[in-house]
Symmetry: C2
Subunit: 174 residues, 2 copies
């Protein structure tokens, strides 16, 4: 359970973290999106996570419609060691976390990677480097020093919206 005030709950970051806000969950998502992990054993081997914990995390992601469970094919119609294994497939809701995962990676690359970036994200079969950035509808890709503000949106209750707007106006006037 997160915040007990309205202000901390009416927040899309809080709501995102209600779904993903456990560190293993982000790493499971990373492996599903970027390491072709689909079977329980894929996640288990690459993460070294306890099976009961992994099982609970995958159940949670399926319940949140971030992944879907695909029943294994009959052994008779499949080939290879993995025949029959249940697979976990990302839904569009899950795949849409990609920008956040790249942005979280980038922070670590910039501030906590003494040996350099472990992973490079690329586009078009590895040929073009990709990064996460803030993009302004009018000005294009922003640099890190751009002044970005938070203003009330349609989902903000009125009394909180007024407080945010008052702060914005004080900043503009100063």
């Amino acid at each position: 359970m997160l915040g007990n005030t309205y202000e901390s709950q009416v927040c899309s970051i809080s709501r995102t973290l209600e779904v993903y806000g456990e560190r293993w969950t982000f790493l499971i998502m990373r492996n599903a999106l970027f390491a072709d992990s689909t079977r329980f054993v894929d996640f288990q081997r690459s993460l070294g996570i306890a099976t009961n914990v992994l099982s609970a995390r995958l159940d949670h992601l399926v319940n949140e419609h971030v992944m879907e469970r695909i029943a294994g094919a009959d052994a008779a119609t499949s080939s290879g060691a993995a025949a029959g294994a249940t697979r976990y497939r990302m839904t569009p809701r899950g795949r849409d976390l990609v920008t956040a995962l790249v942005a979280l990676t980038q922070w670590g690359d910039s501030w906590a990677a003494p040996d350099g970036a472990p992973v490079l994200y690329t586009h078009r079969a590895g040929a073009h480097p990709v990064r996460a950035a803030l993009v302004c509808d009018e000005c294009g890709v922003l640099d890190a020093s751009a002044d970005v503000e938070a203003l009330p949106g349609p989902g903000m209750p009125n009394h909180l919206a007024e407080r945010l707007l008052a702060r914005h106006e004080a900043r503009v006037a100063s």
Copy 2:
């Protein structure tokens, strides 16, 4: 403690989550970056967080050089109720989380905001909408369906790099 395998530890997402990977921490960062929170009491009131928990989280962020603690001015030379209060100021290391925070917000706005986005991020005194996006060095701003891959970077140990490259080559060939 996160992963007990090398593969889960040599990861910039893991390292980012070692710093921020507790939900309150992301919300403290949000309030410092976007709600002008600087004093203990600002964070405490807006988040409704227990003071011992908030104190531990702020200590952690200061220890991680994400925030710095500014001793309060003498009451004699300050004015207002907050005179003398210690302030918490974001460092460049902390401010650089902004893209990840906007990206996490966006996921919540898209998939978990039944009343619409609570907050709109803007540029230039509120005039221009801002979003987080993946940007390709060659192709510009990518849309959500772009095929982004993870390839080994300079910080990836050789045996893991070989595995990632083999997967990449199998994908290109298929």
